[in-house]
């Protein structure tokens, strides 16, 4: 999917150098790395929000041409003047797909992310941080994306809520099977969610290592207590420490 990818910003700061990786359709891949290693930049390149200075990036045409790329930010980034439903409807409006069946699509998407019917009319301000992130996920998923990009979406949430959202995200991915690229600095989150974990190094950003995650689906909460889970998390963390040093 990406080979020899490079990005140098106008100021001369090189954010990425010779990034190579491939993600298959329907795969869930996480990128872990220390802050400032360029993982968010990489995600924005994949989304088409930035253009590489060198190298090639092939994103399956269905994702780009049908606008079936979805992006989830670090913060929920909801429009405060819109209700939950109206926030989720936004991508459909922008793409001109706000037809008669939009309401049903929105309702099923809200259901998918675990939001109850009576939350739909609420203002984002009335929701907790975890609920807001669920709305943000629904907004991304409402177009039924084939390429699903998440930029440290659960970083600001407390641990229990993060774990619950991780479990739900695996279920959602299993049901819809979008090609998913998940950026995080939390190793156990990356291992829990993904089929593969890529480790990035800073200054300039490169992919330093790749781990395959062998655990079956679905992934129950108890997986986190499994010895094999602990071992793999330990290995990824050790690698991360090595490249960050």
């Amino acid at each position: 999917m990406a080979s020899g990818l490079e990005l140098t910003f106008d100021g001369g700061h090189q954010a990425l150098a010779d990034v190579n990786f491939r993600i298959d359709a329907g795969e869930f891949v996480s990128i872990v790395g220390p802050s400032g290693c360029g993982k968010s930049t990489l995600l924005r390149l994949v989304a088409g929000l930035l253009t590489p200075t060198a190298g090639t990036l092939d994103v399956a045409t269905t994702a780009r041409d049908d606008h079936r790329t979805a992006f989830v930010f670090q913060d929920p980034r909801l429009l405060p003047w819109r209700s939950v439903t109206a926030n989720v409807r936004l991508p459909l409006e922008l793409l001109g797909r706000n037809g008669p069946d939009a309401a049903a699509t929105i309702a099923s998407t809200l259901d998918l992310v675990g939001l109850a019917g009576d939350d739909a009319a609420k203002s984002p301000r009335m929701l907790s941080g975890g609920m807001r992130m669920r709305v943000s996920l629904a907004r991304a998923l409402v177009t039924d994306p084939t390429l699903f990009l998440l930029d440290e979406p659960f970083g600001a949430l407390d641990d229990i809520i993060r774990q619950r959202l991780n479990e739900d995200l695996v279920t959602i991915w299993q049901r819809r099977r979008p090609t998913t690229l998940f950026v995080t600095h939390n190793v156990s989150e990356a291992v829990f969610l993904s089929q593969r974990v890529l480790v990035m190094t800073p200054g300039p950003g490169r992919i330093a290592a790749e781990f395959t995650v062998p655990f079956d689906l679905p992934r129950p909460p108890e997986l986190r207590a499994d010895a094999r889970f602990a071992q793999l998390t330990g290995e990824v963390s050790a690698m991360l420490r090595e490249v960050s040093a």
Binding site: R44, A47, G48, L49, H67, T69, A70, F71, F73, D75, R77, L79, P80, W81, S83, L90, P91, E93, L94, L95, K122, S123, R125, M126, T143
Partner: protein
Amino acid sequence: MTSPLRTLAQVALPPLLLLAIVLGIWQGLTVALEIEPYLLPGPLDVLQAGWSDAGLFLQAGLRTGTAAVGGFLASLVVGCLTACLFAQSVWIRRSCYPYAIFLQTVPIVAIAPLIVVWCGYGMQSVILVSFIVSLFPIITSATTGLLAADPDLLDLFHLYDAGRMTVLRKLRLPGAVPYIISGARTSSGLAVIGAIVGEFFTGYGSSGYGLGYLIMQSSTLLKTDRLFAAVFVSTLLGLAVFGAVSAIGAGILRRWYGSE
């Protein structure tokens, strides 16, 4: 939990108490020192002057208020449209902004005669002066608000191929509402001042008079008690317009953000 009545008392009582003390001292001094009423009338004289000419003041206040509201509404519309234009490109902003500042810095006293030459005496000229004086805060606050759109959200809109107008309509303008409201509050007070100043220079001809004219005339006739009353009514008018705009703004914000 404090009741709204109690909150109101806590907010309103201290300034009212201070006012009563100041008025008391004022009245006491004018009587004790036997100050001539044309130099400084006591509060009771002012009250009497205001009361005996109540009809006059009401009529003048209504006319000045109409002009001020007209000027304010014009500023609101023109200011927001200008800001939408400014938000479109940094080059438009760079080339036009100095002239917007010119609006703020030009002494209205200096161009008032020009306005009379162009627009004649009457309501239209008073509204125009009020408009010029109150325009700038709307332009700056609305422009700031339009440009304050979150970069992530701009990315989101680009991801779904939204055009410039859609971004303006669905992201920038709704996001600028709190900024515009805060600019409108500043601007509403200025609009009243603008209307009164406008009346100094243009008046309404033979068709009537406003507070500005009453102030000028009372001053010329050395009717200082009526002058004070006119100033007091002007202040009340300013407070009323400012209060109304603030209340409407607060109402809009409450609905806008669905806060409970």
